[in-house]
Every structure is written in C-alpha cells, then in structure tokens.
Symmetry: C2
Subunit: 417 residues, 2 copies
Amino acid sequence: MPKKNAFYAQSGGVTAVINASACGVIETASKHKDKIGKVYAGRNGIIGALTEDLIDTSKESAADIAALRFTPSGAFGSCRYKLKSLEANKREYERLIAVFKAHNIGYFFYNGGGDSADTCFKVSQLSETLGYPVQAIHVPKTVDNDLPITDCCPGFGSVAKYVAVSALEASFDVKSMSKTSTKVFVLEVMGRHAGWIAAAGGLLTDHHIPVLILFPEVPFDQKKFLAKVDANVRKFGYCTIVVSEGCHYPDGTFLAEQGTRDAFGHAQLGGAAPVVANMIKDALGYKFHWAVADYLQRAARHIASKTDVKQAYELGKAAVQLAVKGRNAVMPTIERLSDVPYKYKIGVADLKDVANVEKFMPANFISNDGYGITAKCKRYLTPLIQGEDYPKYADGLPQYVTLKNLAVAKKLPAFKV
Amino acid sequence: MPKKNAFYAQSGGVTAVINASACGVIETASKHKDKIGKVYAGRNGIIGALTEDLIDTSKESAADIAALRFTPSGAFGSCRYKLKSLEANKREYERLIAVFKAHNIGYFFYNGGGDSADTCFKVSQLSETLGYPVQAIHVPKTVDNDLPITDCCPGFGSVAKYVAVSALEASFDVKSMSKTSTKVFVLEVMGRHAGWIAAAGGLLTDHHIPVLILFPEVPFDQKKFLAKVDANVRKFGYCTIVVSEGCHYPDGTFLAEQGTRDAFGHAQLGGAAPVVANMIKDALGYKFHWAVADYLQRAARHIASKTDVKQAYELGKAAVQLAVKGRNAVMPTIERLSDVPYKYKIGVADLKDVANVEKFMPANFISNDGYGITAKCKRYLTPLIQGEDYPKYADGLPQYVTLKNLAVAKKLPAFKV
C-alpha cells in the first residue's frame, strides 16, 4: 500500500486519558513513516472532518505531543455528533470520504465510545462501496466502561480512582464530624445506564467505611434504602452514599427528576445527590452534606490511574500497529489474563461485534442487598485504579499542554453540517 | 513548672491538614519530656474534655502518629460546639478545669478557627481566676482563611489548590466540548462569608481560562453577570464560573435559597451552582454542567499543598514550643516575609487580639469588575498552593491512618453536655 496520511478524531465526552491515546497514535505513527505520512486531527472531532477543518499535528513539538500523555480533556476538541445511518445520511459519509481523498488519508483512527465505534464501522463499509480504501480503526474510550469485548475502557480506571479516593477522603471527614454534626455524606457520580463508576465506591469497604451504593441497575426502593442508612448511622455513627446519576425509581423516573419548580415556575434541574440527602433528612433527621462531582471526576488527571494512562497509550499505539498490518474495521482491546498479579495483553475485536452493544454491570458484581459490590467486582476493579501517574506542576498547578492546533489548508468547497 | 500533661483537641470543620498540626503537637511534645508528660486528645473535640472522654495518644505507635501528617480529617474526632460566654456558661468552663486538674493537665492546645480561639482565650482567663494554672495555646486551622494577624490559616492552601486544580481540569474539559455541547461550567466552593476559597479560581487566568468568580463580598448583579458570561462564551467559546456558597443578592438572600419546593411542598435545599447554571440556560440558552465540591475540597489530602502541610505541622510544633517557654493565651502565626521567593517565619499573636475578629478579603484583592482577582491577590495566593505532598498508596488508594484512640480511665462523675 502506498504511503497515506492518517486522520484522528476524539469523540463524545472527554476523559483524563483520551489525550494519552492521541499521544500513542501520533508517536507510533511517526515510527512508521514508510506507511503513514502526516497525522491530521479533526478540530472538534468528526465535525472537523466534515468541515475539512483538519489540524496538522506535525506542527507540534515532540515535547508537546509527549505532554498529551499528562493532559486531560480533548486536545483537538471533541463533539457529541452522531452520524445517522448510511441510508438516512449518505451525504455526510460521502463527504468524509471526499475529505479523506482530498488529503490522501488512508487511515481513520476514531477515539470514542459505542456511537463512534458504529460510525467507524460504517466508514469502513462505505469506503469499500465507494472504492476509496480507508482503514478504520476504533480506539476505545469511555468513562462509562460500557464497550463490549474489551475488559475495560480507557478513562474508566481514572474516574473509578477519583471516585474511590474522593469518597474515602470525604468519609474520613464526615466520620470526624459525626458525633455532633454531619452524619450522612452523599456523592453523586456519573453513569446514566451502567453503575461501573458508582461501583468504585464499593472499594471503601476495605477501609471499614460504611458505604451504600445506588446503582442504575437496581430500581430505587426508598423504604429499604432509608432503613439501610439508619442502620449504618446507628452502628457506625455515619454513612457514606455514592449515588449514580442514573439511579431511578421502578417506573424509570430518575431520582434527579423531582418535578421541582423555581420561583418562576421553571423546572428545576437538580442532582440526585441533593434529592437523596433531603430524603434522609426528612425521614431520619440526620444532618447531611452532598457533593456532585460532574466534570471534576472525568477531568481529574491529577489523580489518574497509572494503569489507565498506560492502557490508553497502549491502545492508541496498538491501533496504529493494527493499521500498518493492514487491518480494517477493528478495535484494539484489553484482554485480562489474571487479577492478582494483574496481567493483560492487547487483543483485537471486530467492529461489527462492538457497534451498538452496551456492556452493563454483571449481576454477580452487585451484592445481594443491591447496595454494594461483590468480591468478584472488587477483583475486577482493583487493578484498574492501581498506580499514580502525576503530571508536573509549576506554581502549584499542573502543567497541562495547550497545542497550537494549526489548520491544514482546505481543498474542497465548504460543507454545511 | 512541674511536669504536666497536655490536652489537645480539634474543633469545627476538619481539613486536609489539621492532623498534620496534631502530628506537630504530639511529636514535639515528646521531645520535651521534662515539661510535658502525656498528650491526651479530646474524643470529638472539646466535648471529649467536658465528658472526660480523653484519648491517650501515647498508646499509638510512632509510625501511626507520623502518618497523621498524611491523613485528612480529624483523627480524634471534632465537633461544632461553641462554649457560651463565661457568664452564661460558667458550669462548662469549670468542668473543663476540673477535668484538667483530675488528669494533671497544664497545657491546652486547641486546634481550630475563630470560635475556638475565643474558647481558648476564656479557658486561660478562667484558669487564673480558679487558681489552677493552664497554658492555653491556640493552633490555627480553618479552610475559610479568616483568622486575623496570621498571614494564612492551615487548611486554606490545600483547599485553594484543590479548587484551582479542579477548575483548571474542568475548564480544559468544557473547552473540548464547547463547539457542539457544554459551554458553561459552574463549580460551587465553600466560603459563606469570605471569598478566599473562590478567589483561588482566579489563578486560572494565568492559564488563559475565561473564569468568572462570584464572591460573597460582591452582591450578585444578575444582569451584569449574564452579560459577562455571554461575552466570554462569544469570545472564547466557553466560560468557567467559580461560585462561593455565600454568594448573595443585594438584599442578603443567598443564591442557593430559591424558595423551590419539591413535589411534597418541602423547601428544596439546592446549591448555588445549579441556580447559576439554570439562570444562564434560561437567559442565554447555553448548555451547562455544574459541580458542587463540598467536603471533597477540604478533605482532598491527595492533592494537598506542600506549603500548607508544612505550615500546619510547624504551627503545631510552635504551639508546643511556646508552651514550654511558659507562654499563655497565644497563637502561633505565619508571618510572610516575601512573596517571591516565598519566605515566612513563625510569629505569635495574643489570643485577645484573635478572638472574635474575622478577616475578609481586602478590597484590593478583588478586580474592579468584581469577577476576578488582582495581581496583588495572585501574589498572595500563589505561594500557598505551592508543592505537592503525596500520601502513600496501596491497591490504588491512599493509605490514611485510623488511630486506635484508646480511652484514658475516667476519674470524675459523669457530666451532661
């Protein structure tokens, strides 16, 4: 195959380690100059490809590319933009191929979750149909940890570590105050459909912290939950609760949707945490504090898991290695070989098996009472939060890199997204 | 003075570094065995003294005491319990002296904020009146940074670092997403009366982050604020907002008090962050995310400021050194000598000058528009967040110590608090 350029784009919600994957892709591509020319990145994800807004990563210094490994967020910009089906939106797929053709792009590295795996798969299909060959490789990324086949997804381990560390620290705090003041601490974490992130709170039980987890997989039972909280406070003096944003009642209503209205009659968007906290106060009278971690959890590169950073880099690297081997419509994966000591190898999955499949928490990862995790789940989670991988600091703040992100000259007419 | 035991207690909201002060007190006391016998700690703060529930710190291993330096929260328990005036509550002060007398306690180290400085001062006065000599030394601690005389308060630097790091990381995140998704990120931080903690968000401007700070010192002007947010989004594509929990309207109403009611008609306790976020959405239509850090910020020992940890330890140490020199009714302080390079020395303040004085942000620390900090404020804040002082980790989590906290045998009749 003649030498071709590569296109790399970040998709969906960004993470503490997606740039480590970008770093893996760009650094590895530079070691295969016989097959890969330049690596162009999409400015703001796939939208950058549609609008021909390409970033020339060769204009960045090697030091800045290396610094991506330590920088959270999406260095080239990401987007929430799902291409529709080929039938419904052939125009956009054809535009992608036209842009790739105009810039001699033969490799498409798409770094994202389930939706982007699907897009990646479709691009590989269409490129065959249109007779312009593009090798489409998906690089897994999602804090939700819900991609199939791979043992875990880059981004998840660091969020899990953040949640476990934060909940541990806040639990120490509330324990100190519990004699005369706060007795309940509620931490809200991400995870609308799957409870992987909330499950990380279950690692605290090894530190003798009374913690209850509210999973999206377990319909909320207010009476049973309140009895559990009360039992913990009576026994330990305090209770920590980790609630998933996706926690909902049996009828599917999210806890966060309480139908509250502000003074102007507008629906008030709250979080699940204040709802749970106020519910406890009303029923049991315990003083509470609550926190909503939101973006802090997925951006927390300062406390990223070393395992996660390493795997994010390795999967970016593996994607390029698969490409130079001529593979198409695949995704490199983590294949776990053993829990203790933790061993894994890089595997590969066909995108047809990845696209549109969501991996939920296995039932045997959630304890019988529905508020904790099993030993099996702990064995799964523990290796993923192992190790620290601190960024450098200056003047007290992490030295995160902001790239120059210089544009490649356009060659095609404008295109409306 | 004959050899006496010491009493140490933690007061009010705990911090990431109050245990470092405890470590400084206990380790330094052990070097003055000619004057100081045992160090007893109050279980759950001053309540432990009143109820004669004393912890014998000599039963802990040296390694566990040393580990306090790396452990957030209050290792002996704290409490929110303010002794009333001497006139209104002589019974409790007399009980304190009785407990001190029964356990041969001649040194009282009280680790807290403004209220505990006041209590400490009263104990020193009363001990004279009652003819039982107690040297009362206050060890400063408060994330609010509102004690007078001392340049800063242990606990504050670490919260400031947490807020600056977290807001930096979340800003990188929202910037990545802003083309097609979230454009506004709102982080709520502590500080009901003073904006010291929120001010740390102002350090981001050195990283080219468009950030607006909502201080409790500046009455909230919705129209002006929304115009600022809109201008930032139009110019930079996104905007970060750090809102102090104490931010309020000109009439004193907190932003968090919106008079919202849930489905049952109960007042809904929200945070200021969702209120600000929804206000922006309603007026400008920008997609938002918000976070409420709550306890996470003050418990975040994993990202504590090295300067803060060092000063917390040094002030605990200095308190004991003042005691063995015969000083009474004093508090060791940080005296800043220069900003760059940062130099300081340990000073001393009389408690009569500390008690009941609250230090607000100087007007010349807040920028003219009311939404940022001045260069003077940056010079003040920057040294306080310098350096990292990471705890040890095992299995991916920090190794925080939990002490044995063995009780000293009681000698007095029970006392009802």
